[in-house]
């Protein structure tokens, strides 16, 4: 009897608390609409209380979210003209004080409570969501595959070499979002390729490596500030590309693009990997170096294995970059540097470039982490 009595009391208490929460949600929750204006020419109405990034997505404006909207990656950074509410503590840890003072916010952290007006860079307005079919998959190196996709429907992918795409894999508990650099030249707008390295326990890379030819998956993009356009390279005499491991992917896109548009300046490629089994496209670039006087290729192994029989450069790629920069001191005003690789390599390379007094505006980077 006592047992029944206590169970009944607990149930009544739980029901009361639930009712309390439901009513307070009704009374305190958000209702009505707010207006979102983009770049002062486009505007739309949306439900009050939802996240800005969600509202933008519903109206076909896609912002990059490498972390899945948790506020860790800082890629959905945008500039707010008015509205947006208070800066959250998460944003304060992710953005610099200067950025906060200039009204930069993270779109994944803004809850729409009032009319909001914001600026989105034009390059991001090109991003869209589309489906593509895997048509080819080949091994490039140990645990690295090149996946070639063909875009379905009438969509064309308008991107610049050096940019990346986002892939979302829907799992029961969460959506896993990963970014992969496009490694093909932007000339072909119906097909593109990605270089994917298999990471131990990596949810997305294991999925992509086991993908069967003919499977269709959903992409979102293109994104990324690191992009090359021939019109912006008219005063540049040398393009320096520094890649670490699978960070070669955007560099492959940049090189094939520059070769296609018959860029007249020099192209210098540094590619650092651990040992030879991770080195890919070596033959292609050695041939290109022989054919094309303007192209220089420096593969560097940090820990060459005995069986590699490596007689080339060993050590860190940044040491050779340093050496090259010292040898070409007089040309540093007209170079453009592109960096893509693991965070540690990027930091080292960035420090090195700063110490050489190279204009930081001509340095473009895209760090990645697994």
């Amino acid at each position: 009897m006592t047992l029944l009595y206590s169970i009944l009391t607990v149930c009544v208490f739980v029901i009361l608390l639930c009712l309390f929460i439901v009513f307070s949600e009704k009374a305190l929750g958000q209702s009505g609409n707010v207006e979102v204006s983009l770049n002062e020419f486009k505007s739309f109405e949306t439900k009050r209380g939802i996240k800005l990034i969600q509202a933008l997505k519903e109206h076909d404006v896609f912002l990059p979210v490498a972390c899945g909207g948790k506020g860790n990656c800082g890629r959905c950074k945008i500039r707010i003209n008015s509205g947006g509410g208070y800066v959250t503590s998460l944003e304060k840890s992710c953005l610099s004080e200067k950025e906060i003072a200039e009204n930069y916010r993270l779109a994944c952290q803004i809850k729409l409570k009032e009319n909001i007006s914001l600026d989105i860079p034009n390059i991001l307005l090109k991003a869209k969501s589309f489906k593509a079919k895997l048509i080819n998959s080949r091994n490039l190196a140990y645990k690295i595959k090149e996946l070639v996709f063909k875009i379905e429907d009438e969509v064309e992918l308008d991107y610049q070499s050096g940019q990346y795409l986002q892939i979302t894999r829907k799992l029961p508990n969460e959506d896993v979002i990963r970014a992969y650099s496009l490694s093909s030249s932007p000339k072909n707008r119906k097909e593109f390729s990605l270089d994917v390295q298999l990471v131990d326990g990596g949810i997305m890379s294991n999925y992509l490596h086991s993908l069967e030819i003919g499977t269709t998956i959903e992409f979102c993009g293109p994104f990324g500030d690191m992009s090359v356009d021939i019109n912006s390279l008219y005063s540049t005499e040398t393009v320096v590309l520094v890649a670490g491991g699978v960070g070669l992917a955007p560099m492959r896109a940049i090189i094939s693009y520059l070769i296609e548009v018959k860029y007249s300046g020099k192209i210098i490629l540094f590619h650092g990997v651990r040992c030879r089994k991770y080195l890919y496209s070596e033959e292609e670039y050695r041939n290109l170096e022989n054919k094309n006087n303007n192209f220089c290729y420096y593969p560097v192994l940090s820990e060459p294995a005995l069986e590699d029989g490596w007689i080339g450069k060993t050590g860190f790629v940044t040491d050779y970059l340093n050496e090259w920069l010292d040898n070409n001191k007089n040309d540093l005003n007209s170079i453009e540097v592109f960096l893509c690789g693991p965070v540690a390599m990027m930091e080292k390379a960035n420090d090195l470039i700063k110490s050489k007094n190279i204009n930081m505006e001509s340095v473009h980077s895209d760090p990645f982490s697994f």
Binding site: V10, F13, V14, L28, S89, K113
Partner: protein
Amino acid sequence: MDFNQIIFIFQILFTAAVAENIALYYFLGTCPLISVSNNLRTSFQMGITVTFVMLISSSINFIVYNWILVPLELEYLQLLFFVLSIAAITQFLELFLDRYFHEIYASFGIFLPLIAVNCAILGVSLFIVLREYDFVTSVVYSLGSGLGWLLVICLIASLRRRVDTSSISIYLGERGITMLIASIIAMAFYGLTTAMKGLI
């Protein structure tokens, strides 16, 4: 309220905040203490949030205990009822702050939902029942406990800034050294307990 009562209330506040600190004397709420204390600013925010929720939840739990559980003679269900009401309170607070005090909500951020699983808050509600405090004393006690927790997390966060620039054995790691820091501060606080006993 006479002079003795004021002294008693002050004593409760001091004991809860320092001498019998909830984090270092009872070692409650250790999980957020160790995981959040890597940054002084977030530690301070977490501490303030804990104090705030502790104050509100223990007052409501006092009412739940004395107005619901005691008349129904169901005191043995206090743990279940307290957990449920703390969860409901944090949920309500989140909605309420989001609507009316957005600035506070923005600064609490992710910490508010984390509070629901902070056992220091449950511990305070249970201690109040155990020690048979009246309403005013229980409010003072929960305020003191919250402030004490805030003090400890800020102390640890300030000390952990030194850890970044020191060479620490890799076998100890970041978490290990934090536990050691917490134990050393606990010893210092324990000294205050004896001092308090001398005073009384």
